[in-house]
């Protein structure tokens, strides 16, 4: 069984004001077939976690590691991670002018599998997946994401998820901006992938709306770049009712306590602990 492990992950991002620490020691272990929901307020670093797992060059891992089946992917290229079995369904998929969906899918499939898919079954697979996602046939000949609506882009992400058959998928706010019909269609696609390929899912979301259609095994509350609490599906319900306020307040109080402890240490002439992130 495959396992994706995020170990004490610290990630910073370049900003105009210099490097800014976003993730402050994330620990997660996801086994194949499991669905983990990451829930947190805006700005908590959820999307940074998604990008860092996929290897976006803007995000720098300052310590910790990303390990898939014992293989350390922390320094691997973006494409090597994808070939190893990691998939990111993006929140804002970009347009690729001049490259049709058909050409793109075949090229990606060939890259992932290491050889071109058998033409007959491949064409059938693409057609079936598109039908399942209620995507018009004409999509295949359009350029990737060019002129797609928000919902069409998300469906196109799930189409790739179904066809590329990764071991683990990170869904970065795939639910955002979808109406309920599109949300159901997209969720069905994810559930099919889970059923067919025993996909492990890291589902990043702000709301628990999508969790009505994709049942999580675990729910993690994400605040200020860390997992602050983990539980079962009932935690999502609690968050729905109570919001993130308690967690945000607790996190802020903790940060303040650390800061004042440091100040006190400094006043006492003690060298500040390097473990300020803890």
């Amino acid at each position: 069984m495959s396992v994706l492990e995020i170990r004490d992950l610290h990630v910073s991002v370049d900003t105009e004001q210099g490097a800014k620490q976003i993730l402050r020691g994330v620990n997660l272990t996801i086994k194949q077939g499991e669905t983990h929901a990451i829930m947190g307020p805006n700005g908590s670093g959820k999307s940074t976690l998604a990008y860092a797992i996929a290897g976006h060059p803007k995000y720098h891992v300052t310590s910790g590691s990303i390990v898939l089946d014992g293989e350390d992917l922390t320094a691997a290229t973006v494409d090597a991670r994808a070939r190893a079995g990691v998939f990111l369904a993006m929140q804002y998929p970009v347009e690729i002018p001049g490259v049709t969906v058909t050409n793109f899918l075949r090229t990606a499939k060939t890259a992932i599998d290491g050889s071109a898919p058998p033409i007959r079954t491949w064409v059938k697979d693409v057609r079936t997946s598109m039908e399942n996602l209620r995507m018009d046939k004409a999509f295949a000949e359009r350029n990737v994401n060019e002129g797609f609506s928000g919902g069409e882009k998300k469906r196109n992400e799930i189409l790739q998820l179904e066809l590329l058959k990764p071991k683990f998928a990170v869904l970065d706010e795939t639910d955002s901006g979808l109406d309920v019909d599109a949300l159901k269609i997209v969720s069905e696609g994810v559930n099919r992938a889970k059923e067919n390929t025993d996909l492990g899912v890291l589902l990043i979301t702000h709301y628990n709306r999508i969790l009505r259609y994709i049942t999580p095994d675990f729910v993690h509350v994400f605040v200020a770049g860390q997992v602050v609490e983990s539980g079962g599906p009932e935690l999502a319900v609690q968050l729905e009712n109570e919001g993130y306020d308690t967690y945000v307040a607790a996190s802020a109080a903790a940060a303040e306590a650390i800061a004042s402890a440091e100040a006190a240490d400094a006043a006492a002439g003690v060298v500040a602990s390097p473990a300020v992130n803890a």
Binding site: A54, T77, P97
Partner: protein, 385 residues
């Protein structure tokens, strides 16, 4: 540094003028030496081509430098004198480099297209022109109702100013492709003049992949009712290369139709492309249907793509007239997206550029030439990646 793109309707750049009033003459003495501020020279690095614009040119015929790949039924080729009546039948120079070439050539290369049945493409190659500043003249004559694909290939060293005349007879349907794959030091200033006859179609395709300064300016005159042109262009500017095309479509006759589509990629420090698209729809051109567009794909920092569409419409009774221009980057997010699907960086770049330019290559209609150019474009990608 950084990539700059520039697009405007030109009206803000210069006083309103009509392209139809631009001065034309075959005599170099009738043109002042350009300063670089003129509308048709301001984007050209003229200090690199002053010899071609102002200097003496060697106008001897390029008999040993011009080769025909293989004879094709319906095509013939000959060297003709300056006094031949075909010379000057398609147009006259509108700039000094063109007039300088016209004033200096000794003999012209005449290519006749007479076959009415579609045959294989006729490929005329030019290479080994050396570094002496030269003048050349070519006259392409497509007989009424003829069909054919003519490919003019250029490679090696060259410093050449030239004129190419294209006369398309009534009902003819021909494709003229010019391919510039010169060495990096080459300079090539070409003016093409075309007259398209009644219900005839000229498909005109300019492919510029190599050369230091390459400027190919087609002027296509839709001078007979029902005349039609499709003008395509593809360019790939590498570091230090200047690739320019000023396209002029002159709708003179009623029910004429034009489609202009130029696409270019730029990669490397100092890569510069220029596309100026002038379309004039005269008062006499009722029922005109016209559209022009230019698309640029910027692959790296330090490049510049100038894209300037101009549309002049003198009659309200037209089917359509429009233009579009865009210059976009191949950006890191696209790269990330493709790589996140397992595609290597190199393959990702190839995918995007090939997809972008294939649309033009596929217009040629000669599979062997298309295949070779697809390979050449991919080779361009590896130059500085």
């Amino acid at each position: 540094m950084g990539s700059r793109s520039h697009t405007d309707g030109a009206w803000s750049e210069r006083p309103v003028q009509t392209r139809s009033e631009r001065y034309a003459s075959a005599n170099v003495g009738d043109f002042d030496e350009p300063t670089g501020r003129e509308v048709d020279w301001k984007l050209t690095p003229i200090k690199l081509v002053r010899d071609l614009i102002n200097g003496e040119l060697d106008g001897s015929p390029l008999e040993s430098q011009v080769a025909v790949a293989q004879p094709v039924d319906g095509f013939s080729l000959a060297w003709i004198d300056r006094t031949d009546e075909r010379i000057g039948s398609a147009g006259l120079p509108e700039d000094r480099a063109s007039a300088n070439a016209w004033s200096h050539f000794d003999q012209a290369l005449a290519i006749d297209i007479t076959g009415e049945e579609p045959t294989g493409e006729f490929i005329v190659s030019r290479s080994g022109l050396g570094t002496v500043a030269r003048a050349a003249h070519t006259v392409i004559t497509a007989a009424p109702n003829s069909r054919g694909i003519l490919v003019l290939e250029n490679s090696g060293d060259a410093r050449i100013a030239e004129n190419v005349e294209i006369v398309v007879g009534e009902g003819a349907h021909v494709t003229v492709v010019t391919i510039q794959e010169w060495n990096d030091s080459a300079a090539h200033l070409a003016s093409h003049f075309a007259q398209v006859g009644r219900d005839a179609t000229l498909r005109h395709i300019v492919v510029s992949l190599g050369g230091g300064v390459v400027r190919v300016n087609p002027s296509i005159h839709l001078s007979s009712p029902g005349s039609n042109t499709e003008a395509y262009g593809l360019y790939f500017a590498d570091a230090g290369q200047h690739l320019e095309q000023q396209v002029y479509i002159d709708h003179e006759a009623e029910n004429s139709r034009s489609r202009v589509k130029y696409k270019g990629a730029l990669q490397g420090e100092g890569a510069h492309s220029v596309w100026i698209g002038d379309v004039l729809i005269r008062q006499s051109a009722d029922g005109t249907d016209s559209y022009e567009e230019n698309r640029n794909l910027v692959l790296s920092e330090g490049t510049r793509a100038d894209s300037i569409p101009n549309l002049e419409i003198e009659t309200g009774n037209i089917l359509g007239a429009g233009h579009a221009s865009s210059t976009g980057r191949f950006d890191d997010e696209q790269l990330f997206y493709l790589q996140s699907r397992g595609i290597s960086e190199e393959e990702a770049r190839r995918l995007v550029v090939r997809g972008f330019l294939a649309e033009i290559i596929q217009q040629i209609g000669a599979p062997a030439v298309e295949e070779r150019l697809t390979g050449a474009v991919e080779a361009e990608l590896t130059v500085t990646v």
